[in-house]
């Protein structure tokens, strides 16, 4: 059940992110870009090999409590920081476009071909 809900949420979030990217509003496109990352991180979390009752700490392991999967957490940790870097790059590009062309409507940005 919970897997189904996770998959559903990942699919919906991803679809919304893609939709935002396809629209004209560049600020919303940037937000959509960030939503894509969130969906991917959710997927990483859900793809962990096992779920536990405690954080993956050594003391929990020694106490015999089932812990959550540390590997996916490390992956997400890395992914979050990198996605934040790319997100700020996107924001920088939107910022520049808004000042070069005085618009945040991607249909007004027509000179990129040249």
């Amino acid at each position: 059940m919970i897997e189904f809900m996770f998959a559903l949420a990942i699919g919906i979030l991803f679809g919304i992110g893609v939709f935002q990217l396809l629209r004209r509003d560049l600020i919303k496109a940037a937000i959509g870009f960030a939503i894509l990352f969130s969906a991917i991180n959710l997927f990483f979390l859900a793809a962990g090999a096992f779920e536990g009752e405690a954080p993956p700490y050594l003391s929990n392991v020694l106490a015999g409590r089932p812990t959550s999967d540390p590997l996916v957490q490390a992956l997400i940790l890395t992914a979050i920081v990198v996605s934040f870097g790319s997100f700020s790059l996107v924001l920088g590009i939107v910022n520049i476009i808004s000042q070069r062309y005085d618009t945040v409507d991607s249909n007004d940005v027509t000179q990129l071909k040249h």
Partner: protein, 970 residues
């Protein structure tokens, strides 16, 4: 070893010449002596290695390169390599010397010599290489360096650019065929050499040349044709010959070296090199013979038609290369002796003639044969050099060229096949035309009357030394056959042979004499005859049409590029979703899977997760439907927090902490950025999107459709992945059990900072790069922006202020200032605690960096850019980034000193004997701790760069722009 040094020496020379110090300290003549002296020394060394080759037949030296792939730097010296090596270094020395006087400008000379020396190194590597892959790399290096040499004058002359492009296009196009052919050859050789281990790859020449069944292999036709394509393009064989005359736009020393003695002989070298393993298959020999003869004839005819001196020499070279190819294609390796003698003779006279052409160009500033004449009186030394070299080219008795022609005719005469008559006819005709070309060189350029408008300035005397020495060799070599040429050839020619200077008055002699006479006869009637020669089709025009087609296809493709970036994405994602739907992948993937949940029971924590997922979805929908950007940004923040809470519920406290901090940071960034965009621009897009008459038009439905298909695909794929994930069989278990090895309580921290530390190191480098990208974009990109120029603010701005973000000054109340001042030290303390106790609890280097970065960004929001910069003078993000990365890398390299691997685990506390002391505080001073510190500093610096760049006040932009226009005076 020594062969490696020989090969490396010219490259070292190129590097040395490229140094600015060399250019400044050494005069042109010193550089000339140095370069020519080095080549002469290499020549002498190769001569000295003669007894060694004589004793061992083949000298092989190897250095490991990529031992795991079986690739080694392998050097191979036998008679054939030695012959080519002597030509490359010997002619090279003379040409390097010549170049010193050909160029008047020292800087130009230096630039030229860097590439020429690089080329010499590549060429030496090619002929000394004992490994097919290394040979190929050298092959490509000669293409690249020759491109640079041909296009040397490309800045001024379009012909040079065109010639260089043509040469590169043809030769590297052929090289593509060659590499495929060589790889297939290596694979075939591997199958033959070790049949039991199929799939092996053999690139070593010594193994390949020992195989005697290669020509029976099933792939032989394919790789033989591919290799021959590479050789034919390189050695300018018909129909690829046209690049060579185009390459004459190179400075003459390059033409003399590359296009007479060395590069064009690379194809011949490879054919001769592989012949022992290939010649038994008729496909190999027949292709060589037919293409070679055709090239020989076509080149000879074209040569006499040229008006440019170098063009004539180029086509004569094409013809001679064809003759050599044809000789290599004679059955049973019957022509190899004649081919090698031809190579020696041609290298001697053609390099000399090219240098003559260069000297004439230098002295008379023209190479047009019609504008030259009567140079004998002005340049007597050059005249005699030309006479000797041209007569050698024509094949007058007792010159080296005579020996070459005698052996050529002799070899062709012994070719017994139905087509012998045709072969002889072609050979005799092109020999007669070669004689005609030689007579034209002497007669049209040096004899007769000097045109009125031809002014000669005398070149410096040393310019003659090289060509004169070569002319002497052309003359003397014939008399030194027994002592010099024959011993060398004995090492390269498999059968026993005789090579007399004069074989008596046999039929070959009479043919040879007849050719000379025919040439003289043709010289009398050349002018009306040459005018008659026309060709409906030239390789050059075919090439141009080919390029035109490529251009046409390119511009046709360009029509798909609308310039609206958004539609590119529509095309890409639209095609993806179309493919997803059409390919039926959904039914393939879902076959045998249950998609709908069977077990509907949920626990309390599941319920909490589902609630948070729903919250995230609702917030995501809100980011779409909320019109105003600020509200959408806040809704986006809600998604981030909801996901953070999910992480927390899933027992991932580290991730939850980072997620919450980063999402806060991201939302703050969006809001800072919104303040930088003119409200009218934002309102306009809102208006366009929502208030238009066609807000639910085709485009909307199309985007919706694409998103639904892609969302559906992601849903299905992740559901299947999640339902089928491996349970309890991943490396996670190992990580959990071994976290104690690295003194870490937190398995996640252990993975990030230790087990997978290299990933993390790369990741902070990526993050830094992104931050620098933002800085570059915003610092440089803003210059030249149109907005916010004085007097350009559009009217009607005031009425739209309802959505304006409050600017910095209005946020700066005494209370917010107090908060900002209070938060920063707390954040720093929290950060330090997170670094030191990262191994035993939530938080680590990332969170520390983001926490401090967040506190600093609060200063920027509250106090504004200027005030924040003034009050936080120590906050220098670029220094932090540098420091963090340096610490990270040093920390990663340090274990290497201790004999551990890159990023190995070092326990500093144990090494220092303070383990018990610090562990009583719950601390572990290890390399992981240092690494966390590096991460924290780097992330903090990267964030700082991003914040500073994005918060940079717009009012400054106009001022910067003024400055930059003043600053850049171009």
């Amino acid at each position: 070893m020594s062969l490696a040094i020989i090969t490396a020496a010219p490259f070292c020379l190129a590097l040395l010449l490229a140094l600015p110090q060399t250019r400044a300290q050494l005069s042109k003549s010193a550089q000339t002596l140095l370069s020519a002296g080095l080549m002469a020394a290499l020549f002498a060394w190769l001569v000295g290695s003669f007894p060694m080759v004589q004793a061992e037949r083949v000298v092989i030296q190897q250095l490991d390169w990529v031992p795991a792939l079986g690739i080694s730097l392998s050097f191979y010296l036998d008679g054939l390599s030695l012959l080519f090596g002597l030509i490359i270094t010997g002619i090279g020395a003379l040409i390097f010397f010549f170049a010193g006087y050909y160029f008047d400008d020292a800087a130009e000379y230096n630039r030229f010599m860097v590439w020429l020396a690089g080329f010499a190194g590549a060429m030496l590597a090619l002929v000394l290489s004992g490994n097919l892959l290394m040979l190929f790399i050298a092959w490509e290096l000669t293409s690249v360096t020759s491109f640079l040499l041909i296009g040397f004058k490309g800045r001024k002359e379009s012909a040079a650019r065109e010639g260089a492009f043509k040469a590169l296009f043809v030769t590297s196009g052929g090289a593509l065929a060659l590499i495929i052919g060589l790889v297939m050859l290596g694979a075939a050789a591997g199958q033959i050499a070790s049949p039991e281990a199929s799939g092996g790859f053999v690139a070593d020449l010594d193994v390949i040349l020992q195989l005697d069944t290669l020509h029976e292999h099933a792939w032989f036709p394919l790789f033989a044709i591919l290799i021959l394509l590479g050789c034919f393009t390189k050695s300018a064989q018909f129909p690829f010959h046209f690049w060579l005359p185009g390459a004459m736009s190179a400075p003459t020393p390059a033409s003399a070296y590359l296009h007479s003695a060395t590069m064009v002989k690379a194809g011949i070298y490879l054919v001769a090199r592989l012949s022992p393993a290939m010649y038994k298959n008729a496909l190999w020999t027949d292709s060589l013979l037919s293409i070679g003869l055709l090239t020989m004839l076509v080149g000879a005819v074209f040569a006499v038609k040229q008006s440019d001196l170098k063009g004539l020499l180029a086509y004569a070279t094409v013809s001679k290369l064809g003759a050599i190819m044809a000789l290599l294609g004679l059955p049973g390796q019957a022509g190899i002796k004649a081919a090698l003698v031809g190579i020696i003779a041609h290298a001697l006279y053609k390099s000399a003639l090219f240098m003559v052409a260069g000297t004439i160009d230098h002295a008379a500033h023209t190479r047009q044969i019609s504008r030259l004449g009567g140079l004998r009186a002005e340049l007597p030394a050059l005249f005699w050099v030309t006479v000797v070299s041209a007569l050698s080219m024509a094949g007058l008795p007792f010159f080296m060229g005579f020996v070459a022609k005698e052996t050529l005719l002799d070899a062709m005469l012994h070719y017994s096949a139905p087509s012998t008559g045709l072969v002889m006819l072609a050979t005799l005709l092109s020999a007669a035309l070669a004689a005609l070309a030689a007579y034209m060189l002497i007669g049209d350029v040096f004899m007769g009357r000097r045109p009125q408008d031809l002014r000669i300035h005398k070149p410096p005397a040393p310019i003659y030394y090289g060509p004169a020495l070569l002319a002497v060799c052309s003359l003397a070599m014939g008399f030194l056959l027994d002592s010099l040429v024959i011993p060398l050839l004995r090492l390269a020619v498999p059968k026993s042979f005789s090579l007399p200077l004069f074989a008596g008055f046999n039929e070959v002699f009479w043919m040879s004499a007849g050719v000379l006479a025919a040439g003289a006869l043709l010289y009398r009637v050349r002018k009306p005859l040459i005018r008659r020669i026309t060709f409906p089709l030239s390789g050059d025009s075919l090439f141009r049409e080919f390029i035109a087609y490529i251009d046409w296809a390119g511009s046709a493709l360009l029509n798909f590029q609308s310039g609206y970036v958004r539609y590119y994405l529509v095309w890409i994602l639209g095609s993806v979703s179309l493919m997803l739907v059409v390919s039926g992948i959904f039914s393939t993937v879902t076959a045998g899977q249950t998609l709908l949940p069977q077990d509907l029971s949920v626990t309390a924590t599941d319920l909490a997760k589902i609630f948070m997922l729903l919250l995230a979805i609702v917030a995501a929908v809100l980011t779409v439907v909320l019109r105003e950007h600020v509200k959408a940004a806040i809704a986006y923040g809600v998604i981030g927090y909801a996901i953070g809470v999910i992480f927390l519920i899933n027992h991932a406290p580290d991730v939850a902490l980072v997620q919450l901090l980063v999402e806060t940071m991201a939302t703050v960034l969006v809001i800072i950025m919104l303040g930088q965009i003119r409200p009218a621009a934002r309102l306009k897009v809102i208006h366009n999107l929502w208030d238009g008459r066609h807000s639910y038009n085709f485009g909307f439905l199309r985007d919706l459709g694409i998103s639904i298909v892609i969302g559906l695909a992601v849903f299905v794929f992740s559901l299947i992945a999640l339902q089928n994930r491996p349970e309890r069989r991943s490396i996670s278990e190992w990580h959990l059990e071994n976290a104690a090895l690295v003194d870490s309580e937190d398995a996640v921290g252990a993975i990030v900072a230790d087990f997978r530390g290299t990933d993390t190191l790369l990741e902070i480098a990526v993050f830094t790069t992104a931050a620098l990208g933002v800085l570059t974009l915003l610092a440089r990109g803003r210059i030249g922006s149109k907005q916010f120029m004085p007097g350009k603010a559009p009217a009607g701005l005031n009425g739209e202020a309802n959505e304006n973000i409050q600017d910095a000054t209005s946020l700066s109340t005494p209370f917010t200032r107090l908060v900002a001042h209070f938060v920063l030290p707390v954040a720093i303390l929290i950060g330090i605690a997170q670094i030191f106790y990262g191994s035993s609890g939530p938080g680590d280097g990332f969170t520390a960096g983001v926490t401090i970065g967040l506190a600093v960004s609060l200063w920027y929001v509250v106090l504004g850019y200027d005030e924040a910069r003034r009050q936080l003078p120590w906050f220098r993000p670029e220094h932090f980034v540098r420091l963090g990365l340096v610490i990270g890398i040093v920390n990663a390299l340090f274990p290497l000193l201790l004999g551990q691997g890159f990023m190995g685990h070092v326990q500093f506390d144990k090494a220092l004997g303070i383990y018990d002391l610090v562990s009583s505080f719950g601390l572990h001073i290890t390399s992981a701790l240092v690494f966390e510190l590096a991460i924290a500093i780097t992330v903090m610096g990267g964030l700082g760069i991003i914040i500073e760049a994005i918060a940079y006040p717009l009012s400054r932009v106009a001022a910067d722009e003024g400055l930059s226009t003043v600053g850049s005076g171009e």
